[in-house]
Symmetry: D4
Subunit: 150 residues, 8 copies
């Protein structure tokens, strides 16, 4: 069984495509809460409101960190996706966190981000451009089978 | 002696201001190579040219990682600065790396980045807005003295 | 599966309320022996009597430590409850122990203890006032669902 | 050289008595900021005011944690003093933190706290009643000399 | 589930008595090979004969170490039994090995060995005189039940 | 259950012989991808072609490292086989990697390599000449039974 | 600089012979308190008397453990000497402790103990018969010089 | 100060060239004993002769391991050189050992070994062809200066 944590961008269907592509493989996936509103508000919704936005955010980020840490610590492989928008510093933070723990890192991004992500890619064992490449990596790691070969 | 690693943005004088402000304190500072051109080209300049920009970058990023890892591993405190420009994913990566190693993290950024950096700030023991606040933090940690108090 | 250790106060029903509230979630709970008399006397009851109360207590505390350490080491999340009475230094000790091991810490106490517990709260990822808030935290961490939202 | 961290109660002269008693020994002492007002206000004094007392405390406690963590991590021996007043949960937290890191723990308290501190004492390698006993322990550990013997 | 490694003396039925006494408890037991002849000769029997008794012993001891290390590393609790005969240095070695890994240690021996074992006992969380006391410890740790109490 | 990683030479049937010989034992085997062509080309086949053979190899070696690291980290025992041909530096690298992680190491090679492998053998707990000897080691470690004894 | 901890037998001059033999080498030696009476009584002499010999011994053994742990943790090499008399279980305990921490172990004993110490020797990187052999080992490790060769 | 361990081939002057090239830099170098005869015979020369060549080699390799482990554990950077002759499995073993400990790895070899060393190179942060490139890497890591630039 390979435990895989899917970190990063939450606005496209890349997680669904990886999970669907891995049907039949012994992979267990974890990832962050991808409901953006819930993720932003979870701290104050549960632990009480804050007037100051900074503490509103702090409460939420720390509550989400319980899930994120568990997911990364339990993982054999951490896939980190950088999308086209936003700063996505939490994705890069997760990548650094995973690297320091010795997790195998797969980074997923388009070529337009290659230079800006060179330090992150340099810590990775694979740099993929599409979710399907990540699926092929995971299948190969588990079964030794390459795409298009029987 | 407090070992401090100064990670992140290399285009303003924030490192100089922190180092100058800590004159007389038992602090030892380390940080990345801040000559942008040297940092980008070091891999190919030393280990031979690459036609493909991706490998040009990879060689440089990995060589720089020798310095960065040493600096973070030896540090008691890691200060990570996010400036106004660029993606700065390497700064967030360093923050995650430092957090996973249990280093004390101080994040330095303007209020405009507060929401985007909420996960990074949530892992920090101090969030500063100016280099002078970082200096005051380090002086207090080492001496117990607050600014403006004798 | 999330392993949760419930440390601290043993005189109210807070553990029962958390366990009941988490019905249906993939959570496994561990905690100390909550039979106060058994917990105090276990050492001498099993390993032989002591005339000196200090050694009576030592034998019991060390035997209980076998359970406590196992519970904290196996945990993903450690919830530490501070009640209204007693010194409860063992609860704070467990919190420090869990923090040093990198466990996610949730502290549960009333607002009257906020100042006295500020160092413990500062090491936590969530500070709750009621057992129900802890339940909501655990449910959110596991399912991404917020209370009162479908 | 033995590195010793002196944690806990800040209202009596126990640290001074230990430091003075160890004159001539190869011991290096560290401890928290013992200026109570500075320790309480450091966060807001440096990083900006907070209306809510909880965040006022949080900022201070986290800034103090930079010093505390450094002191405990660098220590060979952690001495934790419990005085007669206050909850002193931070002292018990430090004891748990030190124990989990495998540091040698010496607990210092009067007999009236023996039962309430039994879990903390059970993790210690020495339980002392006076600062002078701590001095005698440190001298013996370093030199093999017992008090009153040449 | 509590993983318990039973180290030490192999000439009496103490392991059987502990295993039998724990019937119905969620305990998993491991221990060394207790067939003395097999344990002594395993190295040369499998990997080829040695003329020199030192290497005969070395081959066997290293092969046995595969089992011992696995058992101790997987254990939550290590019980070490010292009997009346022989040097039993391997038992004390296992105790030290377990202690350094942070395992909970229970030492089992008669009062005649108390002084000679004081350093080993000082690293333990329980010192038992009979296998039945070990059973009572394990039952209490798992269930909170004391012997003779319902 | 004993987790065993079978590292090294991929041109003979030694893995099959070990797996077959361990039928009926509680052993779980992992190993590298043994399809030489797939192993060499996996990086470029999945993540895109490279003109430079060095980067062709790098991509493949790093993708294979995801599997290798997982296998070694999860293992209790790492068996490393050195055959008659090739440099087999990856086998020696795996042996060093496993040794540094504290894994029990069994080295398998013919006597002609004994001198050249003396540093690797010196880190091992068993040095076998045939796959059948490895089987006998694993059976003994799990069951205490020696070959040819009932 | 090589840090060496000299553990075990305290009744002969083996430590003096090793220290003298290493004159001129960059070695720093640590060891236990070798004053037998002080070592036995240190706990009660400093922390107060005990009627029960078991607790008398416990207090002393735990106080001595502060020194022993520091010495072993700081060491690169741990030399453990087994003499002709006594059980010396603390020596074997130290050996196990050092081995689990990954320290390089040198065992020093006469051939009459070879069989009884086979598990300890099997964890060592050198087994010496005389203090002078230990000196030669340390000189070789530091300088590459063999005895009798220029 | 950067601690560098120079592992591998001992028949050419590559170590001397690196040490000479780093004159003036804050680098401390360690490496194995490079006197081939002493390295092969050290075990039996100090600890007594062996008839069987396997144990002759074992004694020597384990004694050398005291130096090698110390050197690698203390290092920030491990440089591993593969020359043109011999199996050099100990070099690859050191590389794996260093990689598992998270050391920064620089591999030094000619292009003819690139394919055979692809797994080792894939774990490295720099792959150099000449000792002078290693010098340039170390100077850049320490000073940020590139060769031929002022």
């Amino acid at each position: 069984m390979l435990n895989v944590y899917l970190s990063g961008e939450i606005h496209t269907d890349w997680r669904d495509r990886i999970v669907a592509g891995c049907t039949g493989l012994e992979v267990s996936f974890l990832g962050p809460v991808t409901d953006h509103a819930a993720s932003d508000d979870c701290g104050v919704a549960i632990l009480g409101p804050e007037e100051n936005k900074v503490w509103h955010d702090r409460k939420g980020a720390q509550l989400n960190a319980i899930r994120t840490r568990k997911g990364i610590m339990d993982a054999d492989v951490v896939v980190v996706r950088f999308g086209e928008q936003y700063k996505q510093w939490n994705a890069a933070f997760d990548a650094g966190y995973a690297a320091a723990l010795g997790k195998s890192l797969i980074v997923l991004h388009g070529p337009e981000h290659a230079h800006a992500l060179k330090e992150v890619d340099a810590a990775a064992l694979a740099v993929a451009k599409t979710p399907e490449q990540v699926v092929d990596c995971l299948r190969y790691v588990l079964t030794g089978k390459l795409p298009g070969r029987s």
